[in-house]
Symmetry: C2
Subunit: 582 residues, 2 copies
């Protein structure tokens, strides 16, 4: 909609200003401003508001871009020095935390208004659009959300921090789709389909078990808190189950990255990756189903069989609908790329591939299915069918495009997580709940992995060894999905507590468990796969490449010929590998 805005000339910043910290200057010096005058005090105010808002938006995005840039440079440094204890996602979180600290405690609150915002009373409930009548002129306001009565005085003062928080829907509409799609698109088909049964078992049964176990354990914890008088508001059983559902979404991105680099066993990789990707989808739909649980009668939180089965129906319906939608879009893309000669125009082909994949997500969301699940299966289908119809050029372009989008989106979310610890206004830190949650997820993971592995092994030829099971147990990191599901609705006390706890769980698991992956791999004697020698060479060559430079000072040639280099130096590489992995 056409907001009343005007271009923003701030010549006072330019004329006579030379600053090394433009952002700080922009934030701190608000006194000089040249206003475009269209006539009327009201328009003056709205233009000023619009300018301020635009400037703030630019600063927000800039903060994140700087975070990501720092992360990238540090990642390079770590790769260069072969640091493995801290993966890029853990690093992004740390930078997010640092910036959060600076913003919270370093920058003085820039309150534009010195008073609490005006309020008006209405008998009718909150509507999405409200009109304000100021001397005959009408101004339109949109509903932002409910606000805690104790926070109303902080509305303006914490504007800076609040503006650095995004509408959670940004995660689900913009950031998660590339991540999930890339996950689906890059599932190594052979290993994935070979372990399909096990993966599905872990994803569905395992997540359900985990959700149930954690939910019940947390209910016990909540009851304990109630007895101890630690609970200041309502916390229902359904809330506990909801927590169980969202916290069951694992995201072992750190572990998998290390597996990839070290080329750990292909089956283990497939099991972990496949499980994490599928259980993200299952958690998502499960949490929706739990929220949709609506028993008849006055008490909304008793067990009602018909409501329960309705929820189960919702789960199955949404999941299969999303699956179908994703698969269909994947097939349609495959058909379009097969029967047109688009592959002669890589740009068009890549753009089309991108758009159709993204449209899956939106179509599913528009129809009430789950975009995340749809886009996952779309990615798997595209990898299976469309991939073969693309030209070589388009294949590379698509892969690179989604790779860079995935990279940026993932690190953005993890930076945001770090930031959210300080920018989120309604944290509820409850030590008992937090400790209880850590114990619960540990037990939940154990009761997920071990019993199911036993059952699965009855039907597998190639058993999942004890060590693999321990590794899977260990690799139950939480990440983007759990965070996004938790931040989605933080209106109530219970949800706020869950959000805070989820955040801390993510931090802990990513840093501690992620960092401990390499030692754990050696401790469990998990061997490398024997059939990935070439990939190993190429990956080592990149590291060699940076080393060679100082030796040969033929930087460009060495990297351009990474392929040739890896072949030439295969002996050295093998030696290096032997030294590294022994």
């Amino acid at each position: 909609m056409e907001v009343v805005t005007a271009p923003k000339p701030w010549t006072s910043y330019i004329l006579g200003q030379s600053s090394l910290f433009p952002i700080l200057i922009c934030i701190l010096s608000q006194s000089y401003r040249i206003r475009a005058d269209d006539g009327g005090m009201e328009e003056l105010t709205t233009e000023k508001e619009a300018e301020e808002s635009h400037r703030q938006d630019s600063v927000n995005l800039l903060t994140f871009i700087l975070l990501l840039t720092l992360t990238i440079l540090t990642i390079w440094l770590f790769k260069h020095r072969r640091v493995r204890f801290l993966h890029e996602t853990g690093l992004a979180m740390i930078y997010g935390l640092l910036v959060g600290v600076i913003l919270r405690y370093g920058i003085p609150s820039t309150s534009y208004h010195n008073k609490t915002p005006p309020s008006c009373s209405l008998k009718v409930g909150p509507v999405s659009t409200l009109l304000l009548n100021v001397s005959g002129k009408f101004f339109e306001y949109t509903l932002k959300g409910e606000i805690n009565s104790r926070e109303i005085h902080n509305v303006e003062q914490n504007d800076m921090l609040r503006k650095l928080t995004f509408d959670p829907e940004v995660f689900f509409n913009i950031l998660l789709p590339p991540i999930i799609f890339h996950a689906g698109y890059s599932l190594k088909k052979r290993h994935f389909f070979r372990n399909l049964g096990s993966i599905i078992t872990y994803a569905f049964l395992g997540t359900a078990i985990s959700c149930f176990v954690i939910g019940n354990l947390m209910y016990g914890v909540v009851k304990l808190m109630q007895v101890l008088g630690q609970l200041t508001d309502k916390f229902y059983y359904t809330d506990c189950l909801f927590f169980g559902a969202i916290i069951s979404a694992t995201d072992p991105v750190t572990v998998l990255a290390i597996f990839n680099e070290l080329h750990a066993d292909g089956d283990l990789y497939a099991l972990l990756f496949g499980e994490s990707v599928m259980n993200d989808a299952v958690s998502f739909v499960l949490s929706s189903s739990i929220v949709a649980y609506q028993p008849t009668g006055a008490n909304m939180h008793t067990f009602d069989a018909s409501a329960f089965f309705k929820s189960v129906g919702i789960f199955l319906g949404i999941f299969s609908g999303s699956f179908a939608m994703g698969a269909v879009t994947g097939v349609v893309t495959a058909l379009v790329t097969k029967f047109t000669k688009l592959h002669c125009f890589p740009l068009l082909e890549t753009a089309l591939f991108f758009l159709m994949s993204w449209s899956t997500f939106l179509l599913a969301e528009a129809c009430g299915f789950t975009g995340v699940v749809a886009v996952l299966f779309c990615g798997i289908t595209q990898a299976h069918y469309t991939y073969n119809n693309l030209s070589e050029e388009s294949t590379k372009r698509c892969k690179q495009l989604f790779e860079v989008l995935h990279f940026l989106a993932e690190n953005f979310i993890f930076s945001y997580m770090g930031l959210a610890l300080f920018t989120f206004q309604n944290h509820v830190f409850s030590p008992i709940f937090i400790i209880g949650a850590f114990i619960a997820i540990f037990i939940g993971r154990a009761l997920n992995i071990y019993p199911l592995s036993f059952l699965i092994n009855l039907g597998r030829r190639h058993k999942i060894s004890g060590n693999f099971q321990h590794m899977m147990m260990f690799a139950g990191l939480r990440g983007a999905m759990a965070f996004a599901l938790a931040i989605r609705d933080t209106a109530t006390y219970a949800r706020q507590m869950m959000f805070t706890t989820t955040l801390l769980i993510v931090f802990f698991t990513v840093w501690v468990f992620g960092g401990g992956t390499t030692p754990m791999l050696s401790w469990l004697h998990i061997r490398l796969s024997g059939c990935l020698v070439h990939e190993r060479l190429v990956s080592r060559a990149a590291v060699l490449c940076s080393g060679l430079e100082s030796l040969q000072q033929q930087r460009r040639r060495a990297c351009l010929n990474c392929g040739i280099t890896s072949a030439l130096f295969s002996t050295q590489t093998s030696l290096l590998l032997v030294c590294f992995y022994s």
Copy 2:
């Protein structure tokens, strides 16, 4: 901010629904909905609102994605059949128009509330944040903008159409940067710097002349309208100058695409491209300076020398500041890529390049400069310095990434233009103004090109021929920048009239002048450049490629070997070219 939301299960759509038109179903059937109950009528309402809003957002984005997909498929078809009269941007506009018609007249208005939104009165002027007190619960509202008193009854009814309109800042923050950056990054350096003096003359002096001429002519038209009683509200001289500034931004993307394909003269290409890219920047800053013109005294629209010089100062200050910022960021990126070994990790290098280029834009905006100008000079600087430090892999990746972003953003804007003809609520169609504007831009362009070319030719060795001047005159298409500047602020009657007129000018110039480029090129006997044979072969090979398939039925091999194919078929190609261009 954490909006009160809940996940959106719409099982009624799924259970027992099998529909081929899920979008229409979603739009039309709103009756069945399962609501998550967190307790309280107010939260129920906000959740319903949030669900509705999310679904609407998904449908909006989906509409645009489908538009873009249709555009891509049609572009392919046109390229396949070598249709040149309609370029992709013109095509995107047509599809936007079609969808706009369907939405405006085809779909019944889905008004969620059957009444005008409630309003409350305050003495104090509009604030950015307003609180609503409903029975002790507080809800926060943000200012959307001023609304015409006659429109308040239409607020909900036209919700659908209004939601398909974006905040104009989306254009400036998300869509224009990739387009402008790509323009700067792909300026063919040799030709650009060879014609730098001419380009700068056209861009600065030419735009100023054009602005002044058009502004004055339009003022005459407005006076005429006033005499004839056609003017219903205020329309100042500064408004006319503003119109002159925004409509001086040319965007000959269609013409240039055809030049590229047919490999028209390199100097002409450089002059047109360079001029259009630079005059976008100049128009932008010029329009800002005009808006910033703020004479002292009661009458805001008389000539005031000090205010005038202040505006000039603003122009120079913003332009040079943005230039400096863009150039500095480009150089910093160059230094970072030079002194790190990032080129061994193409993904990191590409991501960094992308982020630093984008940060230029935001940094400039945050500091009150012009992001568009900054990002343009950043692109030029990156092409000049950073390009040489990237690895070959990264070079390709960056080029392809920006190419696809540019492609999507540009077609999105042009689709949106088509749509805006029907979704914009406040059009002011004034035949006199429109006809006057067409005449004015024609005269303005003529008084820009011909006198300046004469002056420039006095200093050039390689004169700009008369035919080149006619072509440049002809190629004064308007596009994305003019549209974006016009839509930015449509609060007043004058601005609304200007927006409507700009839209029509863009349509006409893109379709008519864009379509007439190829005939015009032959009519003016503008020859092809002699030194681009290889590029020509590669481009022909793509067309040949699709032709060869039916001959050889070795689709994949033919395209993969496009390079070999072009060499093998060089004789055929030359023959084809001779036939085509004679």
